[in-house]
Amino acid sequence: MRKFLIIGLFLLGLGWAVSNFSGLAAKGTYDSIVLDFREDRGTAEIENQVNAIAAQFNVRPQLNSRFSEADHLYVVKGDRQLLNALKRSNISKYTEYIEPDYIYSIPEASLSGVVDASSAQPSGGQAPNDPLYSKQWNLHNISIESGWAETKGSGVTVAVIDTGISQVPDLKETKFVAGYDFVGEQEDAKDDNGHGTHVAGTIAQSTNNGIGVAGIAYEASLMPLKVLSASGGGTVADIAEAIRFAADHNATVINMSLGGGGESSAMQEAIAYAHKKGVVVIAAAGNSGQNAANYPARYPHVIGVAALGASGEKTPYSNFGAGVDISAPGGDTSNGEAGGILQNTLNPQTGESIFAAFQGTSMAAPHVAGVAALVQSAGVKDPDEVETVLTESARKVQDDTLNQFGSGKLDAAAAVNLALRGKITFNDFFRWLRDNGYLNPRFWIDGGAVALLPKLAMVLGSYLLAWFLRSYFPFTWSWSLATGLISGSSGFFFLKGLYLFDVPQYPFRLLGSSLPELGSAVQGSSALNPISASVLIPGLLLALLLGHQQWKWFAIGSSIGVSVCLATSAAIDPTLMWIGGGAIARIYLIVNALLCFGLARLAMKPEDKIV
């Protein structure tokens, strides 16, 4: 009987651990591996190591892009086997990290048999004839050409709430609708800073016109709304007015490459008004490198955008965490202009047209606004549905514990393809969750942090199993045992996705972690800490609590939970801090899982009854 009970509890814990396994939350595939060599090692030594890899594993490591040399960022073709081999090898000492490259996955729900998976792949490009197009790595990174094969944003109006827009030569063929200058209170919303024109260029630069650069939704119309003065600042009141103006004048996308200030109900209401009128509102996450997007990106119904560099990494300046819904190229000019986003704008001193490379989340937001216009042009109009298309089609980033990338990296081709399929089912559960998370702009839920639906199903299933066990075995389910099971196997996982603005997220990661995960929860690492991922904590708990009739069951429960968590990690992804992945980690985890199970069994002495 006791045996059945232990096995039953083991299975129960296993269910929890499997459902909580992050690998299932964002399962991705990859066919190449990124190696980031340590800067302090010197180029010659790194080259030696690169050659050693080539010889030892019969692969050809290559610099990721022409921007990767300073960073020593290499990629090699390979699978999990090679990844683990590399991690185990001597080479890992010379690297900052070795990890899978760009884990892309179209969510299963969106592939639901309507079209075959191959159509989600970029199909045939059509490069425009703009001579500087080859320098626009950002457009290449979001797979724009396959998106253009379907739509170029025709029929959609994008409002650019910024420093105004000047009709520089490479905007001559772009369509404009009437806007307004809220700073100078006049009809003509010319730019006197250069920022707004640059942002407008990313959205709808005249393309295939034989001059300059390209823009994303170049058949869309631009609505210039000037709210920021020549110095680049403006008041919340003007911005709120501009949002209402856009909504009242048939704009269906708003881009706000601006931020700062405090909470303002005028602005929040203006955004809610625009959302209700069917406008997709997009804003930059901010450039202070802090944990949480700034206003207006953090308001309800605003898509907050973080900035990526040319290699797809989070830029050092980009805000992250709460309020970041998606990431897109924002550029990094710290190593030269080639790393920035190139558009046609004006020199504010002379008013002359220039092609300038800027960096910032200001540059990332208009990428999303441009793709939102493509999505609307492809037939998906509702702002919630557009957001779903953008976030579901984004390239998922695995192990994004700090939410640096939101739902992933913007992908124009995948977004347009998903929109054309026309079967957008905005999950009611997520709508409920998000709207409740957005009851006020003080807290935020990262829906992608954990796979919630399978988890809820597993929790329900576990309760059914518990009910089943109870009807067979004469024991009363005790809270101490259940608490032990949860703490041991999964922790209060849902807390991992909860953020309070301007507050560190690690307390939630700690509460949302199981006992084995505790040792790496503060750093936000997905690798397990071998100290906490061992028999140590359950052993201590049992030693301390064995004498207590009720709390003893907490210790037994957690011992079983930890056993299951470790066994699951050993089976799916044995990665330990300091040790890495592979056989050593796997054996370590299995041995400790068995020890935990043995401890639990020993502690359930025959004369004991669960109270």
Partner: protein
């Protein structure tokens, strides 16, 4: 409020003047006088945080300079 720090020029958009304060925070200077537009200048600024202003630089709180002292 009074903040002490070093003037910096940050490369967002066409560039913005900032104060990297001693406490590690960065402030965006709102319409700084031309005497303050000098990289590396150590200053003490008496000013006001403009919570009602949003900017393209988004590097931190917006500080409107009232008076300043070069250190």
């Amino acid at each position: 409020m009074t903040v002490t720090g070093v003037i910096q020029h940050k490369g967002f958009g066409t560039g913005t003047w900032a104060l990297d304060a001693e406490d590690g925070k960065s402030y965006e200077l709102h319409k700084p006088p031309s005497e303050l537009q000098k990289k590396g200048l150590k200053v003490e600024i008496d000013g006001e945080i403009r919570d009602d202003v949003m900017t393209i630089a988004m590097i931190g709180p917006v500080l409107e300079v009232k008076t300043f002292k070069v250190l």
